[in-house]
């Protein structure tokens, strides 16, 4: 049994079935919908200081949104089967993480230990959170070996 990533001389390639590839192809649309129910993609360093928060946001501008757009491009390339660099896999991993955060917000996941009680089989979104976690963990494994 092989993992979901293959490292060759050409680079790192995603190795999943056609169905899984289709699911992954649709994943960025979850982020484009703006459905960040828990506000988990919009953290601020100064939650208790509106003035400092405003100053910080003016400083960083839309840099985070720009970085996330670049990450999604790398994500789409890997999902399309193109070999990528470790940096591309890092971007893939971040997108997976963003989707898990958004889905978790939508599912109302707020406490540790939710996996133990989750009925993955009966809830497609929970199952997706779990499967994306498997992919992210595998990506961490690949990157840790290359680190």
């Amino acid at each position: 049994m092989t993992g979901p990533f293959v490292v060759t001389d050409a680079g790192i390639q995603l190795s999943v079935g056609t169905d899984e590839q289709g699911v992954l192809r649709s994943v960025p649309t979850l982020l484009q919908s703006g459905d960040d129910a828990g506000g988990r993609l919009d953290y601020t360093p100064h939650p208790d200081d509106p003035a400092a928060d405003a100053e910080y946001r003016e400083l960083v501008g839309d840099d985070l949104a720009h970085l996330r757009r670049e990450d999604r491009e790398s994500f789409n390339d890997l999902v399309a089967g193109e070999p990528g660099t470790p940096e591309n896999l890092e971007a893939f991993m971040r997108v997976i993480g963003e989707v898990r955060l958004v889905l978790a917000g939508r599912l109302g996941i707020e406490d540790d230990g939710w996996e133990a009680e989750a009925e993955m089989q009966s809830d497609p979104e929970l199952a997706l959170v779990g499967w994306l976690g498997y992919l992210q963990d595998a990506a961490v494994g690949v990157l840790s070996e290359l680190f």
């Binding site: 993609l41 400083l59 890092e90 406490d111 540790d112 680190f147």
Partner: protein, 95 residues
């Protein structure tokens, strides 16, 4: 060499304080990010050895938060920005 100015603008005390005093970057626990991913992010962003990154991750997990870096405001905000880019919940505190 330069000539000493006749007159200097003394920075506002609060402004001086905010930019020069040390700030701590705090990572907070969340129920979603994988432990393995958090360890990897702390290694990648701050160059921590795996054992130290794991210690910090476990502190976040068990105690709800951990201080992962510190420095002047500009550096601390940049660290926070990079953590947010990686999906981690991070805030700043004055030391």
């Amino acid at each position: 060499m330069t000539v000493a100015p006749d007159q200097v603008d003394v920075p506002d005390v609060d402004e001086f304080d905010a930019t020069t005093r040390s700030w701590q970057v705090v990572v907070w626990n969340d129920p979603v990010n994988l432990m393995s991913y958090v360890v990897w992010v702390l290694r990648k962003l701050f160059g921590h050895p795996e054992a130290e990154a794991t210690r910090l991750m476990l502190q976040v997990h068990h105690e709800g938060r951990a201080i992962v870096s510190s420095g002047p405001l500009e550096k601390a905000e940049l660290d926070c920005h990079r953590l947010h880019h990686h999906g981690l919940w991070a805030t700043l505190e004055k030391t």
